[in-house]
């Protein structure tokens, strides 16, 4: 078993996690379900980006991963504020 096989297996698994999170975004009965699923999609995207850097050897993917990891929660915070405002009404 070669080490590259592990990277490809991780790519498949993270992609599957992203797809499942997407199903939750579409089906999620309430707003918090969807928000958490969108946050999970961001985490999966950062992971995919790092794995892409490992597969292709392009260092630019790592910067994209850093940006996604640093900013991914910003949308979640915005949604949280929106949900708070809506529940106060």
């Amino acid at each position: 078993m070669r080490p590259e096989m592990l990277v490809y297996a991780a790519l498949v698994l993270v992609s599957a996690a992203l797809l499942i999170a997407f199903v939750r975004v579409v089906r999620g009965p309430t707003l918090p379900d969807r928000v958490v699923a969108v946050d999970l999609i961001g985490v999966c995207a950062a992971g995919l980006s790092v794995l892409g850097a490992a597969v292709s050897g392009q260092r630019g993917f790592l910067d994209a991963a850093v940006v996604i990891a640093l900013l991914g929660f910003l949308g979640t915070v915005a949604y949280a504020r929106y949900a708070e405002k809506e529940s106060l009404k």
């Binding site: 260092r59 630019g60 910067d63 994209a64 850093v66 940006v67 640093l70 900013l71 910003l74 915070v77």
Partner: protein, 132 residues
């Protein structure tokens, strides 16, 4: 309304984001990055600050108004283009006084783009957030 976790997190993340934005700006000549992406990251840092501490505090932390940032960025980009004719070349021609350090008029132009992106994005964000 205000969360202690968010405030503490913003205090840690803000310098990281600002540093990464400037890093993207300075590295953007031959590798991924540049003024636009760096400006977006810095604008996101101030948007985070306004989420955590309010828009008024974010405006104070920015020191100058976003509109002024946009204008000065446009002027800087235009000025970097006019340096070409001043040096006997065409408009927007690249001049490299210190090529081994990567310092030249493209860096000035990129700095202008950086300031314009910060100004425009923060104008939109702050206006939207004040109306919310």
């Amino acid at each position: 309304m205000t969360s202690l976790i968010l405030r503490t997190g913003a205090r840690v993340l803000m310098p990281l984001l600002l540093l990464f934005g400037v890093f993207l700006l300075l590295r953007g000549h031959n590798e991924p990055g540049g003024g636009f992406v760096g400006g977006l990251v810095v604008a996101a840092a101030y948007a985070l600050h306004s989420f955590a501490f309010g828009v008024a505090a974010a405006r104070r932390a920015l020191l100058v108004s976003p509109r002024r940032l946009t204008a000065s960025g446009l002027l800087l980009a235009l000025g970097s283009g006019l340096l070409g004719p001043a040096g006997g070349k065409e408009f927007l021609a690249s001049l490299w006084p210190a090529p081994e350090m990567g310092i030249g008029t493209p860096l000035l132009f990129d700095l202008g783009v950086f300031l314009v992106v910060i100004g425009v994005v923060l104008t939109m964000t702050f206006t939207l957030f004040e109306e919310l």
